[in-house]
Symmetry: C2
Subunit: 90 residues, 2 copies
Amino acid sequence: MRIKALKQVESRIELEFPSSSDAEIVLRAIEPEISGSPSERTSTEIESEGNILKISITAQDTTSLRASLNSYLRWVMLSNEILELKNLKN
Amino acid sequence: MRIKALKQVESRIELEFPSSSDAEIVLRAIEPEISGSPSERTSTEIESEGNILKISITAQDTTSLRASLNSYLRWVMLSNEILELKNLKN
């Protein structure tokens, strides 16, 4: 029987935005994605504190952690692109 | 001129192993990889505390954070595989 070496994996990501409103915009954009894609192998919390967006992920293994990290970071990248273009217009 | 929306990105990963010796083995295996692949856009610290391996990454953007995260998690996965097979043999 194969003994599981890695017991648990946790990751906390902090994303610093220029303003709290930017952080909140990204939070509101991403939150439905996170709650809409429940997974048995990971649990995720997302919150904003001032201009900092905090994403905490707990996973059973690195494979499921990587999958979640990649999805969330892709959503952050997309939101960030839109914010940058919006800032360009103002 | 495009105004950078995302100022800084930080990620802390904590990997819980069954024993401190397992965590140290993975630390010693991964450390040369991390110090051997310097990047201007990310800075990384790795340490073990008891049976917990801690990886802290600071990056300028989510793209470079994702690249680093993926590499380190791949190395952890590989080390973890070897530990599990080694545990199988003992």
